[in-house]
């Protein structure tokens, strides 16, 4: 501060003799900078930014499209799956029905055979029993006639037969 007087001024900012110089160069600088920025730099940066925005937008729309496609594919897959399941069910049902029908036919056939055989057997059993009964009554009549003849009695064939039949019927 002692040499303020020697320097002429303590604060260079207040040295009015340099003002015109600073202001002149400032104005030149501002014009140059404005020219460079507005003519060269800013349009370029703006173009790059617009370019990027366009790319991003188109990329996003492409992604949207792919997403839609994927959704459609998924829907088609689900539909095919449901169709296949229905088809499989239908086939299973048909096979079951066919098997049931065949089974029914077989069972009916087997039933018919069984009943036929049963009827046959019953018929034969009846025949055998009938013939056995015939033979019993025949033998009884013969034996009765023989017994009566052996006792010397004159046997009336008709009445003997009737009596034997009546007794047999009682016993049966």
């Amino acid at each position: 501060m002692a040499d303020d007087a020697a320097n002429g001024v303590g604060m260079p900012q207040l040295d009015l003799s340099t003002f015109s110089n600073q202001i002149f160069w400032l104005i030149v600088t501002l014009f140059v900078l404005y020219y460079v920025m507005s003519r060269v730099a800013l349009p370029r940066v703006a173009a790059v930014l617009a370019d990027r925005r366009g790319t991003i937008t188109s990329d996003i729309s492409a992604a949207e499209e792919f997403k839609l496609k994927a959704q459609a594919a998924e829907e088609a897959y689900h539909k095919a799956k449901a169709d296949a399941r229905a088809e499989a069910n239908r086939i299973v049902e048909a096979a079951k029905a066919e098997m049931q029908a065949q089974l029914d036919v077989q069972i009916a056939k087997a039933d018919a055979e069984i009943s036929a055989r049963t009827a046959e057997s019953e018929r034969r059993i009846r025949e055998i029993r009938d013939s056995a009964m015939e033979m019993v009554s025949e033998v009884s009549k013969e034996a009765t006639k023989d017994i009566l003849e052996a006792f010397g009695a004159k046997a009336d064939a008709r009445s003997v037969n009737a009596a034997v039949s009546a007794r047999l019927k009682e016993g049966a």
């Binding site: 501060m1 303020d4 001024v9 303590g10 604060m11 207040l14």
Partner: protein, 78 residues
Amino acid sequence: MEGDIAEMGKFIGVGLTAIGMGGAAIGVGNIAGNFLSGALRNPSAAAGQTAMLFIGIAFAEALGIFSFLVALLLMFAV
């Protein structure tokens, strides 16, 4: 030290002017503190108000710089 009453007064004045910067410091601290307490209450609104924060700080700080400038003028230009 030779007695130069004018020089002494100048330095006392410079010292007094420096107090003004404390006022600016209080102001800036007040703004920042209030902004922070507001921002903590409603953090979603804070991001949009940082410009207002800086404008407020700039206004408060300008007054401190004025006192600093007066101090410099007293020191070097008077």
